[in-house]
Symmetry: D2
Subunit: 348 residues, 4 copies
C-alpha cells in the first residue's frame, strides 16, 4: 500500500481523489490538508463520507512527510509552486491539478500566465524542467519516472483526446480547428458564486471567455508537438445546466478522401491499448461516462460539407481531473492503469 497525501482536500478535486482512493487497492490516504475547514473532520464537510473517511483536515503547514509515497495538489494556480520544493527535495512525486507544472520551461509558463491574466513569474523555475504533462494517453513513458506531473485541464483533456489522432495522423487540413465545449456547473468549483447560482443556472446556457480560455494554451502546446503543421484552436466554452460532464464538438476540414469509416479506423488504431478511450460510431452522451474515467470519442466525416466532425465526452471531475490524476499515479508506481478506476458510469 502506498501512502497518499491530498492537499486541497475540501474542493471537488480533493473529494474526487478521496472517493477514488477509498476504493483503490494500492493507495491509502495518509493525510488531508487544505486552507479551508482546518480542524474539521472531512465527513463534516462531506457528510456522505461518514464511516468511509474520517480524517481531520490539517493546514498545509502541518503536512507530515514521513512515509509519504505521493502527494496530490488539488490546489489553484500558483499554490503548488510555493509548496513543491519540500516534496521535490524528498523525492516524493507530486501530481498538481493547476497550470503550474503543465509547461516545462519558465518562458512558456510565463506566456501561459499572461494569456490567463495572472502574475507571470514562476516561483520554482528550477523544477519546471522535471515537470511532465500528465496526459497518460500521450505521455505514459515520461510519466513513469516523473517527479512532478501537471495534471491537464478538464476541457484540455476533452479536446486533446478528440484531436490528437486527427492532428498526428494528418486527417485534417485546416489550421484553425473549431472546438465548442459544453461543461457542467461543477467545473466552477466548490465556492458559491454567480457561475453556480441555482436560479441563474437551472435553465440557462451561455458562452464565456470566448476564444480566451486558458486551456487553449496547453492544448495548442501539445498539438503543435505532434503535428508537422501549425495548429490553432478556436475554443468557446459554455455552461449548460448539467452538474458533471463535458461534451466537446470539434470541426476541421477533412483531408480529401477521408470517410467516416477511415476516420473511425484511424482513431481505433491510434487508441489501441488505451483502456479509457472508447471510440464509438454512435453519438456520445455525457451520461455514458458520468462518474467514470472514460473518454468516449466519435469521429465522423460530413460528406456534404467535407468537414471532419469529432465529439468527445468525459466527466470533468474524473477523466477531467481526479480520475486522470490517479491514472497518472498508477503509472508512476507501475500499477495497471485501470486500478481503482475500472467502474462503469453512474446511471441513471
Amino acid at each position: 500500500m502506498k501512502n497518499a497525501t491530498i492537499i486541497g482536500a475540501t474542493g471537488f478535486g480533493g473529494l474526487g481523489l478521496i472517493e477514488i482512493l477509498l476504493r483503490h487497492p494500492e493507495f491509502k490516504i495518509k493525510q488531508l490538508a487544505a486552507r479551508k475547514d482546518v480542524g474539521k473532520r472531512v465527513d463534516e464537510v462531506f457528510p456522505h463520507l461518514k464511516g468511509f473517511c474520517e480524517l481531520i483536515i490539517e493546514s498545509p503547514e502541518a503536512i507530515d512527510y514521513s512515509g509519504m509515497d505521493i502527494a496530490f495538489f488539488s490546489t489553484p494556480d500558483r499554490a503548488g509552486m510555493t509548496l513543491i520544493s519540500e516534496f521535490f527535495s524528498r523525492d516524493i512525486p507530486v501530481i498538481d491539478f493547476s497550470g503550474d507544472f503543465r509547461f516545462n520551461d519558465a518562458e512558456t509558463y510565463s506566456a501561459y500566465a499572461r494569456f490567463k491574466g495572472m502574475e507571470d513569474k514562476h516561483l520554482a523555475p528550477e523544477i519546471l524542467a522535471h515537470a511532465v504533462y500528465g496526459l497518460p494517453e500521450v505521455n505514459a513513458d515520461r510519466i513513469k519516472t516523473a517527479k512532478v506531473v501537471g495534471n491537464p485541464g478538464c476541457f484540455a483533456v476533452s479536446i486533446m483526446l478528440g484531436l490528437l489522432p486527427a492532428v498526428e495522423m494528418g486527417l485534417a487540413d485546416s489550421q484553425t480547428i473549431i472546438c465548442d465545449g459544453k461543461t457542467g456547473v461543477s467545473g466552477a468549483g466548490k465556492n458559491p458564486g454567480e457561475a453556480n447560482f441555482y436560479p441563474q443556472r437551472y435553465e440557462n446556457v451561455n458562452t464565456y471567455r470566448e476564444g480566451k480560455h486558458q486551456h487553449i494554451y496547453e492544448v495548442e502546446n501539445v498539438l503543435k508537438s505532434k503535428s508537422k503543421n501549425k495548429v490553432r484552436i478556436m475554443f468557446v466554452p459554455q455552461i449548460v445546466p448539467l452538474n458533471r460532464g463535458i461534451l466537446t464538438t470539434m470541426y476541421a476540414t477533412a483531408k480529401a478522401g477521408l470517410t467516416t469509416k477511415k476516420a473511425f479506423d484511424a482513431y481505433k488504431e491510434y487508441y489501441e491499448g488505451k483502456p479509457f478511450v472508447v471510440i464509438t460510431d454512435k453519438s456520445p452522451n455525457t451520461t455514458d461516462v458520468r462518474g467514470s474515467n472514460r473518454c468516449e470519442i466519435r469521429p465522423m466525416v460530413d460528406e456534404r460539407t467535407g468537414m471532419l466532425f469529432i465529439t468527445s465526452a468525459i466527466d470533468n471531475l474524473v477523466k477531467g481531473q481526479s480520475g486522470n490524476a490517479v491514472q497518472n499515479a498508477n503509472i508512476i508506481f507501475g500499477f495497471d492503469e485501470r486500478t481503482g478506476l475500472d467502474v462503469p458510469a453512474f446511471y441513471p
Copy 2:
C-alpha cells in the same frame, strides 16, 4: 378584433399561440382543433389555462370557417398540405408551423422532403407559389400580402438571424459555416419518448442528426438567396438539460480587416428597426430571452485565429415558433409587429 383558429392546439406550438393570443389586444381565439383530446376542454389538457381559455378541442373536420380571419396550423409535416385548400379557397390566411410551406416550388419541397427522409410529393403544389417564408426580419414585405406563411424551424431562426448580416454584407470568407446548436428538451414536442425522458435528460448532453438536421435545408435556401457566393452550413444540433431555449454558436473565417467593433456596427445597422433582434456585446444567455420573442445576437472577431464568432439566443417556443407566428400575423393585418409580444423574459 380578428378571429383566429388554431389547428394542432394541444401541442406546445398550439399552447404557445393560446398563451400569446390571450394577451393580444387584436386577436380573439375563435376555435381550437386537434387530432388528440377531441371533446375535452383545453383547460383539462393544460390546467393552468383554467379561467383563461375554456374552449372545447374539436376535430379538424368540425372547423367552422365562418367569420374566421386567420388560421394557425401547429401541425406536423404533411398535415397542413392536406388542409390548406379549404382555407386558401376562402381567402383565409394561414400560418403553418411545419416544412410544408417553407419552399415555394414543388421541386425544392421534394428535395427538402428527401433530405428529411419523408414522402416527397407535395399534395398542394398549386398553392406553393403563394407561400412565403415567414422570417419577418427578412420577408416582412412579402408576408404582408401572403396567403400562406411557412413559419420557420426553431433552429433555423437562430441560425439565420445570426448569419444573415455576415452573409449578406460579406463579413465572412468561408464557404462552410459551422453552426453548433444547443436546444432545450421542449423542442422534442409534447409526446413522451426517449428524447424527453427525465432520467435520461436531467444530466445529459448529446448530439443528434449531425450534419443532417432538416433545418439545414431552409437555412441554406435563405442564405443562398442573400449571398453572392455559395453558402454551406455544417450544423450539429445538441440537447441540453434545459427546457426552453436555443443557443447557437456560429464560426466562420472573418474577412480580412474585420474587427469586433466593425462586426458589431454592421449587425446593429442590419437590424436597425427590427424590434425583436437585440445586438449585444456581452455573452448572450438563454435566460435573457426565455418566454420572450427576442433574439439576442453577439458577433465578435477572435483576432488570434481570425474567426468571426456569432452567438444567438432565442426561446425555441416563442421566437422559434409561436411568437414568430404571431409576429407574422401582426404584419398580415398591419398591426405593429410588437403587438401582444412586447413582454420581457420570464426570470428567474
Copy 3:
C-alpha cells in the same frame, strides 16, 4: 397612473415588482433604490429588462418623495423599520416584504423576533398600530385604508390559505396541524450561498429549521384570530430542486362526518369572490401556478384514516411575494384586485 418606488430593487422581490408593474396599467415605476449595485442601470443587473426598464439604481438616501404615491420595501427584516417614518409622515402608503410590520404591537413583534433569533426591539413602535397584515383574502377591508402593510411570508401564504377555511369553519378537530412545505431554491434569495449552490441543489431534497421556521409565528397569529380553539402548527420546510414554487401538504384530524365533498364545498364557499384562490378536486401541481398570482387548493378527506388533507400550491415569488404585494396595492387604490395580475401560469 400612480407613481411607485421600489426599495430593495435588485433582489428577487424587487425584480418581481418591476416585472409586474411594467405590465400594470395603473402604476408607473418612479424610482428604484437598493444598497447593492447603486449607480448601475437595472438592466445591467437583469439583462432581460433591456428596453423595458432602464432606471438607475439609487441609494436609499437619494429617495425622492415628491409625487410618490406608494412605496414597496423589498428589504430584509429590520431594514423597513428604519426607513418607515419618512414615508409615514408624508402619508405615503408602504408595503413591506419583511416581518417588520406583520404584527401590530411591539410585544408580539418582539416575541416573533426572538422566535427568529434576532434583536427584538422594534425601532418604529409607534407606527405598528397602523400596520395591517397583508393577506388580501382575509384583510381586504383593512388593507384599503392601511398606511403600512406587512406583506406575508411565502410559506405563510401557502399555509394560511390552505388552513383558514378548515380552522374558521371548524372542519378539523386537531389542535396541532401538520404542515409539510416544499419550496423552490429561489426562496433563498439572490445572494449565492450554500442554499442555492447548484452542485448541492440540483439533485437534493432536505428539511431545515424543522418546527422553527419564523413563518410559523405569523400563521399561528392569524389562525388563532379566526378560531374558537387554540391552533398550533408543526411546520417543516424543505428545499427541493425546483426554482420557483411552494407545495404545502397539510394534515389535520377531520371533524366527524366530514367528507371530501363537504370539505370541497366549504372551501369553495369560503373563497367565493376571491379571484386568486382556485379550489380544485385534482392534485395541484406547482406548474399550474408558476408565474401566476394564483393559489391552488385541494381539500380532501382520507376516509380510511379520518384525516383532512389539504394541498396548496403557489409561486413563492408571486402570490408568495411580489404578486400579493401588488394585489394589496390594487386594494389600497381601489383598483380591481386582478389589475396587472391576471395572467396564466408560464408553461412549460
Copy 4:
C-alpha cells in the same frame, strides 16, 4: 462465486442489480432475461455498460436453470407468480421486486391487490407460506433460509425504517402517523410517460395517490406485527424534480416525556449493528445517500407541539430496490451484509 440470473434486466431495477453485481466479489451474472430488447446485448440498451457487461438479453422462456444459485425477479406485479414454480421446485432462491411475495397468505395478498386495484387471485398460493418479507433490518433471521423473498417497495423501506423504533419501542402515542414522501422521477420506471416527461417534471412538484399508495399496505402489515396497538398510516407520495432519492418526513404525537435526546438514543440502540442505517442529529439530505445502500434517519421531538418528527433519506433505486435485494442475497448465502454494497454516495 455464486451464479445469479436477473429477470427483468432492462428496467432500472435490473440495471441496478447489474451495476452492483459487477463489483460484487461473490456473485457472477449468469444470465439476463427480459420481455423487452430480447436478442440485444445489454450494453446496446445501456451504453455505459460497454466493456463491463456484454451479455445478450434472452426471453424468460430461454432461462437456463443449470448451475443457477439465485434469481432476481425485477418484474412488475403478477409476473413473478407465474414464473416462481420452476425456481421453487429446483430449490433456487428467488428475490422478487414486486408485491407478489410481500405477504405470506393468499388472503392478505388479495386484500393488497384490491387496495392497489388489480386482479386479486394469487397464482402460486402454495408458495406464499414460504415467502419472507425482505427487510433485512427486521427479518434477517428468516431471510437466511428463505426460498422466496418479497423485496419491499421503495417508499415502504423509507417509512418502515423511519417508524419501526418509534412503533416497537412505544415512542409515539398516535394511532395515525403522517408520512409525507418525496420521490425522484426514476421511481416511475423506464418507460416514457407523463410521470417522467421532462417538460412537465423539470420544474414541478405534485402529490399523487393521496392516502391510497399501495405501499401503505405492506407498511401497516409490518408495523402492526411489531406494535401492541393498532397502527395506521396516512401516506401522501409526491414527485419532485430529482432523479434518484426519497425523503420521507413522518409525524406522530410523542409519548409524554420523550425528548430529542431520548429518541435519538432509542433509535441508535434499535439499529445497533445494522450497517446500512445511519442515525443522525442533522437534517438528512438525499445527496448523502445517492447511489449508496444507506438509510439516513433523524428522529427529533418538537417540544413546542409535542410531535415526534422523523426524517428518512434513501436512494430509491438502491436501498429502495436493488441494493436491498443484494443485501438479502448476501444474507441468504451467509456473506457479510455489506459485501458489494459498501460504497459511499455518489457526490456531487
